[in-house]
């Protein structure tokens, strides 16, 4: 029987049941443990509800089909192909960004987290990692679908470099998306405010990603993205990663 009477509770604490740290160690190790727990919870909730990733993937594939008919072209390449790919990924990502904190806001997850003696940035890292996972799954569906439905040149030659460009873009989307989603989710107009705040901040990622991808998706591509656009994307990721890290505590507490 463990609905503990006072003496039992005291005994438990003395025996280290309730009071024993599960992840004793340095504060950094403790933060890693919390990030892991938050990320696990995030992915479990998504696996059970399937609210974000399927919607993102379906949106992307549908958009490619719409582009196919709207442009009245069987294939695209170069700048146009890169533009279509990145704009589609951006809007698909917004679906995930908008839902990123909804369960926490609606089911008390924020309050429960704020009551715990943990680093607030743990939630930023966990949410950004979760969003990153969603984006990777989205791209695993969307990029092959793009190659099949719209892209003229073979995707194969430029694929390794394209994966690198996408990864840089994903890091930026994850940092900005998490920051904006945390800001918007506690407002009444969260579905409107999220995209309104995020899209202008994400435009440089679309520009950088599209320019870097364009040579990879061109006819007769040699598979070399422009280094300056990769650098631009990397710097943008770094700046917004730092901004998100600096602001997240205040967003969560206030």
């Amino acid at each position: 029987m463990s609905a503990a009477a006072p003496e039992t509770r005291t005994a438990n604490a003395a025996e280290g049941v309730a009071g024993t740290p599960a992840a004793a160690g340095t504060p950094r190790r403790r933060t890693f443990a919390v990030v892991r727990a938050l990320l696990r919870k995030e992915l479990l909730v998504e696996l059970r509800t399937l609210e974000s990733v399927p919607a993102m993937s379906l949106f992307a594939v549908t958009t490619f089909v719409v582009f196919h008919f709207a442009l009245n072209r069987n294939t695209v390449d170069g700048d146009l192909a890169a533009g279509i790919l990145w704009v589609t990924l951006l809007f698909a990502a917004m679906l995930g960004v908008n839902r990123l904190f909804v369960a926490d806001a609606d089911q008390g997850g924020f309050d429960a987290f704020l009551l715990a003696p943990v680093e607030r940035s743990a939630m930023l890292f966990a949410k950004a990692l979760a969003l990153l996972c969603y984006l990777v799954v989205l791209e695993l569906v969307a990029v092959p679908a793009f190659g099949l439905l719209l892209l003229g040149p073979s995707l194969w030659h430029g694929l390794p470099a394209l994966v690198g460009v996408l990864a840089l873009g994903d890091l930026g989307v994850a940092a900005i998306g998490t920051l904006v989603a945390a800001l918007a989710v506690r407002t009444r107009a969260r579905d409107l405010l999220g995209p309104l705040l995020a899209l202008p901040l994400l435009v440089p990622i679309v520009i950088g990603g599209a320019r870097a991808s364009s040579p990879l998706l061109a006819l007769g591509s040699q598979g070399e993205p422009a280094a300056r656009w990769l650098l631009t994307l990397g710097l943008y990721d770094l700046v917004f990663g730092l901004i998100a890290f600096a602001l997240f505590d205040f967003l969560l507490e206030d």
Partner: protein, 178 residues
């Protein structure tokens, strides 16, 4: 505000000897909050929810199992919370609130949705017998008075009554709200 979730606009707030919000970090983890919302994820099971909270509070999994048995949820512990009754969810919320063995319990209508048997079940955890300092919000003057040492009656957001429970009657409290 006592749970450190809201910032005071004016005045001085101290919880467990620490000034709020400047020293909120000192009291987090020493407070257990049981409010209207269970603060649990509906798609996760009671066990998954409690294990998640155990990670946040750096508590061992053994404590989770102990509390699941304590609130008699061990047989339904792996079902999503959304499939459980309100009473079962409230029992899981009680387990969540005391998971980290808090010094101070903040309880808002803690026995709502609980039948008499469930009330007996959670009493050792959140009742007077738990030995914890408790702040209870209740709309039941008689019930609240029965387990209080000090009574604070609020009217229009201001303290209208602050006395030892022994010197206050349920009728007197009821009058405040008429």
């Amino acid at each position: 505000m006592l749970a450190t979730l809201l910032r005071p606009h004016a005045g001085d707030v101290r919880v467990l000897g620490s000034s709020i919000p400047e020293q909120s970090w000192q009291v987090r983890g020493r407070i257990g909050l049981l409010g209207h919302e269970p603060l649990l994820y509906r798609e996760l099971s009671a066990r998954e929810n409690l294990r998640f909270h155990a990670r946040l509070h750096d508590v061992a999994d053994e404590r989770v199992e102990e509390l699941l048995v304590g609130v008699q949820l061990e047989h339904r512990a792996d079902e999503p919370l959304r499939s459980l009754s309100r009473g079962m969810v409230q029992r899981a919320a009680v387990a969540r609130a005391v998971l980290h063995d808090p010094e101070l319990l903040l309880l808002d209508e803690p026995r709502s949705n609980l039948d008499p048997a469930a009330v007996e079940l959670v009493d050792p955890l959140i009742g007077a017998i738990s030995g914890r300092t408790r702040v209870i919000c209740s709309h039941d003057p008689g019930g609240g008075l029965a387990e209080a040492d000090v009574v604070l009656g609020l009217r229009d957001g201001r303290a209208a009554l602050l006395r030892a429970a022994a010197d206050v009657s349920a009728d007197e409290i009821g009058e405040l709200y008429r």
